[in-house]
Protein backbone atom coordinates (compact mmCIF):
# COMPACT_ATOMS: atom_id res chain seq x y z
CA UNK A 1 0.00 0.00 0.00
CA UNK A 2 2.76 2.37 0.97
CA UNK A 3 4.73 1.51 -2.12
CA UNK A 4 1.73 2.28 -4.28
CA UNK A 5 1.20 5.57 -2.51
CA UNK A 6 4.88 6.36 -2.90
CA UNK A 7 4.85 5.88 -6.63
CA UNK A 8 1.69 7.91 -6.94
CA UNK A 9 3.17 10.73 -4.93
CA UNK A 10 6.31 10.58 -7.04
CA UNK A 11 4.26 11.20 -10.11
CA UNK A 12 2.12 13.90 -8.61
CA UNK A 13 4.64 15.84 -6.58
CA UNK A 14 8.15 16.43 -7.86
CA UNK A 15 9.58 16.90 -4.36
CA UNK A 16 8.89 13.26 -3.46
CA UNK A 17 11.39 10.78 -4.79
CA UNK A 18 12.90 7.43 -4.04
CA UNK A 19 16.56 7.08 -3.17
CA UNK A 20 18.76 4.12 -4.10
CA UNK A 21 17.52 1.99 -1.19
CA UNK A 22 13.93 2.47 -2.27
CA UNK A 23 12.88 4.56 0.72
CA UNK A 24 10.60 7.49 0.11
CA UNK A 25 12.43 10.75 0.45
CA UNK A 26 10.51 13.93 0.80
CA UNK A 27 11.62 17.28 -0.58
CA UNK A 28 14.46 16.04 -2.73
CA UNK A 29 15.54 18.60 -5.24
CA UNK A 30 15.96 15.94 -7.90
CA UNK A 31 13.59 13.34 -9.29
CA UNK A 32 14.72 9.74 -8.82
CA UNK A 33 16.08 9.50 -12.35
CA UNK A 34 18.98 11.75 -11.40
CA UNK A 35 22.06 9.83 -10.24
CA UNK A 36 24.77 10.96 -7.86
CA UNK A 37 27.94 12.31 -9.44
CA UNK A 38 31.18 10.32 -9.41
CA UNK A 39 34.03 12.70 -8.74
CA UNK A 40 36.90 10.39 -7.77
CA UNK A 41 39.21 9.59 -10.66
CA UNK A 42 39.76 5.95 -9.62
CA UNK A 43 36.05 5.27 -9.33
CA UNK A 44 35.47 6.84 -12.72
CA UNK A 45 38.10 4.57 -14.25
CA UNK A 46 36.48 1.60 -12.54
CA UNK A 47 33.14 2.53 -14.06
CA UNK A 48 34.68 2.84 -17.51
CA UNK A 49 36.39 -0.53 -17.16
CA UNK A 50 33.31 -2.32 -15.95
CA UNK A 51 31.25 -0.80 -18.77
CA UNK A 52 28.84 0.85 -16.40
CA UNK A 53 29.87 4.25 -17.69
CA UNK A 54 28.26 3.36 -21.03
CA UNK A 55 24.95 2.84 -19.25
CA UNK A 56 25.25 6.13 -17.40
CA UNK A 57 26.09 8.09 -20.52
CA UNK A 58 22.68 9.64 -21.01
CA UNK A 59 21.42 9.60 -17.42
CA UNK A 60 20.96 13.01 -15.85
CA UNK A 61 23.40 13.67 -13.00
CA UNK A 62 22.93 15.70 -9.83
CA UNK A 63 25.16 18.66 -9.22
CA UNK A 64 28.31 17.86 -7.23
CA UNK A 65 28.86 19.36 -3.79
CA UNK A 66 31.55 21.97 -3.53
CA UNK A 67 33.45 19.62 -1.20
CA UNK A 68 33.60 17.00 -3.96
CA UNK A 69 37.02 17.26 -5.51
CA UNK A 70 39.27 15.02 -7.58
CA UNK A 71 42.36 16.32 -5.82
CA UNK A 72 44.95 13.72 -4.82
CA UNK A 73 44.71 14.99 -1.25
CA UNK A 74 41.00 14.29 -1.05
CA UNK A 75 39.94 11.53 1.28
CA UNK A 76 36.24 10.87 1.88
CA UNK A 77 36.79 9.66 5.45
CA UNK A 78 38.83 12.73 6.33
CA UNK A 79 36.11 14.89 4.79
CA UNK A 80 33.56 13.12 6.96
CA UNK A 81 35.74 13.58 10.02
CA UNK A 82 36.00 17.29 9.25
CA UNK A 83 32.24 17.46 9.35
CA UNK A 84 32.25 15.76 12.75
CA UNK A 85 34.71 18.30 14.07
CA UNK A 86 32.66 21.16 12.67
CA UNK A 87 30.47 23.25 14.95
CA UNK A 88 27.75 25.62 13.73
CA UNK A 89 28.70 25.24 10.09
CA UNK A 90 32.18 26.66 10.44
CA UNK A 91 33.68 24.38 7.86
CA UNK A 92 36.78 26.39 7.08
CA UNK A 93 37.67 26.40 10.77
CA UNK A 94 37.10 22.67 11.17
CA UNK A 95 39.14 21.95 8.05
CA UNK A 96 41.93 24.04 9.46
CA UNK A 97 41.75 22.16 12.77
CA UNK A 98 41.95 18.79 11.03
CA UNK A 99 44.87 19.96 8.92
CA UNK A 100 46.66 21.16 12.04
CA UNK A 101 45.93 17.81 13.70
CA UNK A 102 47.55 16.00 10.79
CA UNK A 103 50.52 18.32 10.92
CA UNK A 104 50.83 17.66 14.65
CA UNK A 105 50.80 13.90 14.05
CA UNK A 106 53.43 14.29 11.38
CA UNK A 107 55.65 16.34 13.71
CA UNK A 108 55.31 13.87 16.59
CA UNK A 109 56.13 10.91 14.38
CA UNK A 110 59.05 12.67 12.68
CA UNK A 111 60.48 13.59 16.07
CA UNK A 112 60.25 9.97 17.08
CA UNK A 113 61.76 8.89 13.79
CA UNK A 114 64.70 11.22 14.21
CA UNK A 115 65.30 10.15 17.78
CA UNK A 116 65.57 6.45 16.91
CA UNK A 117 68.98 5.18 15.87
CA UNK A 118 68.65 1.91 14.00
CA UNK A 119 66.96 1.58 10.60
CA UNK A 120 64.89 -1.38 11.87
CA UNK A 121 63.28 0.82 14.49
CA UNK A 122 62.82 3.62 11.97
CA UNK A 123 61.03 1.35 9.54
CA UNK A 124 58.41 0.53 12.19
CA UNK A 125 57.45 4.18 12.74
CA UNK A 126 54.53 5.28 10.56
CA UNK A 127 54.97 8.87 9.45
CA UNK A 128 51.89 9.21 7.22
CA UNK A 129 49.17 10.98 9.25
CA UNK A 130 46.51 9.82 6.81
CA UNK A 131 47.35 6.18 7.43
CA UNK A 132 47.42 6.77 11.19
CA UNK A 133 44.03 8.44 11.00
CA UNK A 134 42.51 5.55 9.06
CA UNK A 135 43.96 3.03 11.49
CA UNK A 136 42.63 5.01 14.45
CA UNK A 137 39.14 5.13 12.98
CA UNK A 138 39.23 1.41 12.19
CA UNK A 139 40.34 0.60 15.74
CA UNK A 140 37.48 2.58 17.28
CA UNK A 141 34.73 1.00 15.21
CA UNK A 142 32.33 -0.93 17.45
CA UNK A 143 31.05 -4.41 16.61
CA UNK A 144 27.81 -4.02 18.51
CA UNK A 145 25.71 -1.22 19.89
CA UNK A 146 22.96 -1.08 22.47
CA UNK A 147 19.55 0.24 21.65
CA UNK A 148 16.88 1.09 24.24
CA UNK A 149 13.79 -1.10 23.83
CA UNK A 150 10.77 -0.82 26.07
CA UNK A 151 9.19 -4.07 27.17
CA UNK A 152 6.59 -4.23 29.89
CA UNK A 153 7.26 -0.75 31.21
CA UNK A 154 10.99 -1.37 31.55
CA UNK A 155 13.52 0.00 29.10
CA UNK A 156 16.21 -2.53 28.32
CA UNK A 157 19.52 -1.75 26.66
CA UNK A 158 19.48 -4.41 23.99
CA UNK A 159 22.73 -5.32 22.17
CA UNK A 160 22.46 -5.28 18.39
CA UNK A 161 24.81 -5.72 15.47
CA UNK A 162 25.86 -2.41 13.98
CA UNK A 163 25.85 -1.42 10.34
CA UNK A 164 29.09 -0.40 8.67
CA UNK A 165 27.92 3.18 8.27
CA UNK A 166 26.87 3.52 11.89
CA UNK A 167 30.13 1.99 13.14
CA UNK A 168 32.14 4.65 11.30
CA UNK A 169 29.89 7.31 12.75
CA UNK A 170 30.34 6.06 16.33
CA UNK A 171 34.07 5.70 15.87
CA UNK A 172 34.56 9.27 14.68
CA UNK A 173 32.16 10.62 17.26
CA UNK A 174 34.19 9.04 20.07
CA UNK A 175 37.44 10.27 18.59
CA UNK A 176 36.19 13.84 18.42
CA UNK A 177 34.74 13.55 21.91
CA UNK A 178 38.08 12.32 23.22
CA UNK A 179 39.81 15.17 21.43
CA UNK A 180 37.53 17.72 23.04
CA UNK A 181 38.03 16.42 26.59
CA UNK A 182 41.15 18.39 27.43
CA UNK A 183 42.68 21.04 29.59
CA UNK A 184 41.82 24.58 28.63
CA UNK A 185 45.43 25.38 27.87
CA UNK A 186 45.85 22.57 25.36
CA UNK A 187 44.67 23.25 21.85
CA UNK A 188 42.27 20.92 20.08
CA UNK A 189 44.67 19.82 17.28
CA UNK A 190 47.30 18.77 19.81
CA UNK A 191 44.87 16.75 21.88
CA UNK A 192 43.25 15.29 18.75
CA UNK A 193 46.67 14.25 17.40
CA UNK A 194 47.47 12.47 20.67
CA UNK A 195 44.14 10.71 20.68
CA UNK A 196 44.50 9.62 17.05
CA UNK A 197 48.01 8.32 17.69
CA UNK A 198 46.97 6.38 20.77
CA UNK A 199 43.83 5.06 19.01
CA UNK A 200 46.03 3.83 16.17
CA UNK A 201 47.92 1.84 18.83
CA UNK A 202 44.61 0.52 20.23
CA UNK A 203 44.90 2.65 23.33
CA UNK A 204 43.37 5.87 24.53
CA UNK A 205 39.97 7.15 25.52
CA UNK A 206 38.16 6.53 22.24
CA UNK A 207 39.15 2.86 22.24
CA UNK A 208 38.17 2.70 25.90
CA UNK A 209 34.72 4.02 25.01
CA UNK A 210 34.36 1.28 22.43
CA UNK A 211 35.42 -1.38 24.91
CA UNK A 212 33.02 0.01 27.51
CA UNK A 213 30.21 -0.34 25.00
CA UNK A 214 31.26 -3.92 24.23
CA UNK A 215 31.25 -4.70 27.93
CA UNK A 216 27.79 -3.19 28.29
CA UNK A 217 26.63 -5.34 25.39
CA UNK A 218 28.10 -8.40 27.05
CA UNK A 219 26.42 -7.55 30.35
CA UNK A 220 23.06 -7.15 28.57
CA UNK A 221 23.39 -10.23 26.36
CA UNK A 222 20.39 -11.80 28.10
CA UNK A 223 18.15 -9.18 26.47
CA UNK A 224 19.50 -9.84 22.96
CA UNK A 225 16.34 -11.67 21.92
CA UNK A 226 14.24 -8.57 22.71
CA UNK A 227 15.14 -6.78 19.56
CA UNK A 228 12.62 -6.45 16.81
CA UNK A 229 12.23 -4.91 13.38
Amino acid sequence: MLGLRGTLLCRLLPEYSRDASGALRAYSMYPPTYIKPVYQKEKLEELIESGEAKEREFTPVRAAYNSHTSSVFHDSLVRKFTNHVMKTGQKSLSRELVEQTFREIKLIQLRKWNQTQTPEEKSVIECDPNKIFHKAVENCRPLLIVSPIKRGGVTYQVPMPVTEHRSYFESMRWLVKAGREKERTIHFPQQMARELLSAAKNEGRAVKMKQDLHQLCEANKAYAHYRWG
Binding site: M1, G3, S21, G22, L143, L144, P159, P161, T163, Q211, H214, Q215, C217, E218, K221, A224, H225, R227, W228, G229
Partner: protein
Protein backbone atom coordinates in the same frame (compact mmCIF):
# COMPACT_ATOMS: atom_id res chain seq x y z
CA UNK B 1 -23.08 -45.92 43.57
CA UNK B 2 -21.39 -47.93 40.83
CA UNK B 3 -22.46 -47.85 37.23
CA UNK B 4 -20.14 -50.56 35.96
CA UNK B 5 -22.90 -53.08 35.34
CA UNK B 6 -24.91 -50.62 33.22
CA UNK B 7 -24.80 -50.21 29.45
CA UNK B 8 -23.48 -46.84 28.13
CA UNK B 9 -26.95 -45.77 26.97
CA UNK B 10 -28.34 -46.41 30.43
CA UNK B 11 -25.47 -44.51 32.06
CA UNK B 12 -26.30 -41.53 29.92
CA UNK B 13 -29.90 -41.61 30.97
CA UNK B 14 -29.18 -42.22 34.65
CA UNK B 15 -28.66 -39.40 37.07
CA UNK B 16 -26.85 -39.41 40.40
CA UNK B 17 -28.66 -37.73 43.26
CA UNK B 18 -26.56 -35.85 45.78
CA UNK B 19 -29.00 -34.35 48.22
CA UNK B 20 -30.99 -31.85 46.22
CA UNK B 21 -28.44 -31.71 43.35
CA UNK B 22 -28.67 -33.78 40.25
CA UNK B 23 -25.48 -34.90 38.59
CA UNK B 24 -25.82 -35.79 34.95
CA UNK B 25 -23.69 -38.59 33.60
CA UNK B 26 -24.46 -37.47 30.08
CA UNK B 27 -22.24 -34.72 28.50
CA UNK B 28 -22.22 -31.59 30.64
CA UNK B 29 -24.98 -29.12 30.10
CA UNK B 30 -23.75 -25.94 31.65
CA UNK B 31 -27.17 -24.31 31.59
CA UNK B 32 -28.58 -26.86 34.00
CA UNK B 33 -25.52 -28.06 35.82
CA UNK B 34 -25.65 -25.66 38.74
CA UNK B 35 -29.40 -25.43 39.13
CA UNK B 36 -31.87 -27.18 41.29
CA UNK B 37 -34.43 -29.46 39.65
CA UNK B 38 -36.91 -26.56 39.63
CA UNK B 39 -34.49 -24.49 37.48
CA UNK B 40 -33.42 -22.11 40.25
CA UNK B 41 -30.15 -21.71 42.15
CA UNK B 42 -29.93 -22.75 45.82
CA UNK B 43 -30.64 -20.07 48.34
CA UNK B 44 -27.76 -20.86 50.69
CA UNK B 45 -25.74 -17.88 49.53
CA UNK B 46 -23.27 -20.07 47.73
CA UNK B 47 -22.64 -19.38 44.09
CA UNK B 48 -21.55 -21.96 41.58
CA UNK B 49 -17.76 -21.91 41.25
CA UNK B 50 -17.99 -21.90 37.49
CA UNK B 51 -20.71 -19.79 35.90
CA UNK B 52 -22.14 -20.91 32.65
CA UNK B 53 -21.28 -18.17 30.17
CA UNK B 54 -23.25 -17.29 27.08
CA UNK B 55 -21.68 -17.38 23.62
CA UNK B 56 -20.76 -13.87 22.60
CA UNK B 57 -20.74 -13.18 18.87
CA UNK B 58 -18.10 -10.44 18.68
CA UNK B 59 -16.84 -10.90 15.16
CA UNK B 60 -18.83 -12.22 12.20
CA UNK B 61 -18.10 -15.86 11.52
CA UNK B 62 -16.78 -15.25 8.04
CA UNK B 63 -13.34 -14.88 6.53
CA UNK B 64 -12.36 -11.41 5.36
CA UNK B 65 -11.19 -10.51 1.91
CA UNK B 66 -7.84 -9.24 3.13
CA UNK B 67 -4.98 -10.29 5.37
CA UNK B 68 -2.96 -7.96 7.56
CA UNK B 69 0.73 -7.56 6.86
CA UNK B 70 1.71 -8.10 10.46
CA UNK B 71 2.74 -11.70 10.06
CA UNK B 72 5.03 -10.77 7.20
CA UNK B 73 7.12 -8.53 9.40
CA UNK B 74 10.51 -10.10 9.35
CA UNK B 75 11.96 -11.02 12.68
CA UNK B 76 15.05 -9.03 13.41
CA UNK B 77 16.43 -11.86 15.49
CA UNK B 78 19.21 -13.08 13.25
CA UNK B 79 22.73 -14.01 14.32
CA UNK B 80 21.92 -14.60 18.00
CA UNK B 81 24.05 -17.73 18.06
CA UNK B 82 27.02 -15.96 16.47
CA UNK B 83 26.58 -13.12 18.94
CA UNK B 84 26.69 -15.43 21.93
CA UNK B 85 29.83 -17.12 20.60
CA UNK B 86 31.39 -13.70 20.12
CA UNK B 87 30.49 -12.65 23.66
CA UNK B 88 32.01 -15.82 25.09
CA UNK B 89 35.25 -15.23 23.20
CA UNK B 90 35.40 -11.56 24.09
CA UNK B 91 34.88 -12.25 27.75
CA UNK B 92 37.53 -14.95 27.74
CA UNK B 93 40.08 -12.65 26.08
CA UNK B 94 39.27 -9.55 28.13
CA UNK B 95 37.64 -7.70 25.20
CA UNK B 96 40.70 -7.78 22.96
CA UNK B 97 39.32 -7.92 19.45
CA UNK B 98 42.43 -9.20 17.74
CA UNK B 99 42.16 -12.50 19.61
CA UNK B 100 38.61 -13.10 18.43
CA UNK B 101 38.96 -12.25 14.75
CA UNK B 102 37.42 -15.55 13.64
CA UNK B 103 34.29 -15.03 15.74
CA UNK B 104 34.03 -11.39 14.70
CA UNK B 105 34.25 -12.32 11.03
CA UNK B 106 31.55 -14.95 11.29
CA UNK B 107 29.28 -12.57 13.20
CA UNK B 108 29.69 -9.74 10.72
CA UNK B 109 29.26 -12.08 7.77
CA UNK B 110 26.03 -13.37 9.27
CA UNK B 111 24.73 -9.85 9.84
CA UNK B 112 25.63 -8.80 6.31
CA UNK B 113 23.85 -11.83 4.88
CA UNK B 114 20.82 -11.03 6.96
CA UNK B 115 20.75 -7.41 5.78
CA UNK B 116 21.05 -8.49 2.16
CA UNK B 117 18.26 -11.04 2.54
CA UNK B 118 16.08 -8.43 4.18
CA UNK B 119 16.73 -5.95 1.39
CA UNK B 120 15.99 -8.52 -1.29
CA UNK B 121 12.76 -9.51 0.41
CA UNK B 122 11.69 -5.88 0.71
CA UNK B 123 12.38 -5.28 -2.96
CA UNK B 124 10.40 -8.30 -4.01
CA UNK B 125 7.56 -7.28 -1.76
CA UNK B 126 7.49 -3.80 -3.19
CA UNK B 127 7.25 -5.17 -6.70
CA UNK B 128 4.38 -7.38 -5.54
CA UNK B 129 4.34 -9.48 -8.70
CA UNK B 130 2.32 -12.65 -8.58
CA UNK B 131 4.50 -15.68 -9.15
CA UNK B 132 2.69 -18.74 -10.47
CA UNK B 133 2.93 -21.80 -8.19
CA UNK B 134 4.70 -19.82 -5.48
CA UNK B 135 4.73 -21.59 -2.13
CA UNK B 136 5.19 -18.57 0.09
CA UNK B 137 3.46 -15.35 -0.81
CA UNK B 138 3.75 -11.93 0.72
CA UNK B 139 0.65 -10.35 2.22
CA UNK B 140 0.46 -8.03 -0.75
CA UNK B 141 0.31 -10.89 -3.18
CA UNK B 142 -2.31 -12.66 -1.06
CA UNK B 143 -4.38 -9.48 -0.93
CA UNK B 144 -4.12 -9.10 -4.67
CA UNK B 145 -5.39 -12.65 -5.16
CA UNK B 146 -8.18 -12.17 -2.61
CA UNK B 147 -9.26 -9.06 -4.45
CA UNK B 148 -9.52 -11.01 -7.68
CA UNK B 149 -11.21 -14.01 -6.06
CA UNK B 150 -13.14 -12.85 -2.97
CA UNK B 151 -14.54 -15.24 -0.35
CA UNK B 152 -17.91 -16.73 -1.28
CA UNK B 153 -20.78 -15.24 0.70
Amino acid sequence: MTNQHLLPEEVNRRQIHYGKFIMHLSPLMLGTMYRLPNGKFRKTGRRPSRWPFPYNNVLPLALRNEVSGKGDKQQNLACLHEMSILFACMKKNDFVQSLCSKEINSFQKCHLNFLQAQKLKKEQEREGNLVPYARNMSHRQVNQLLKQYPQPK
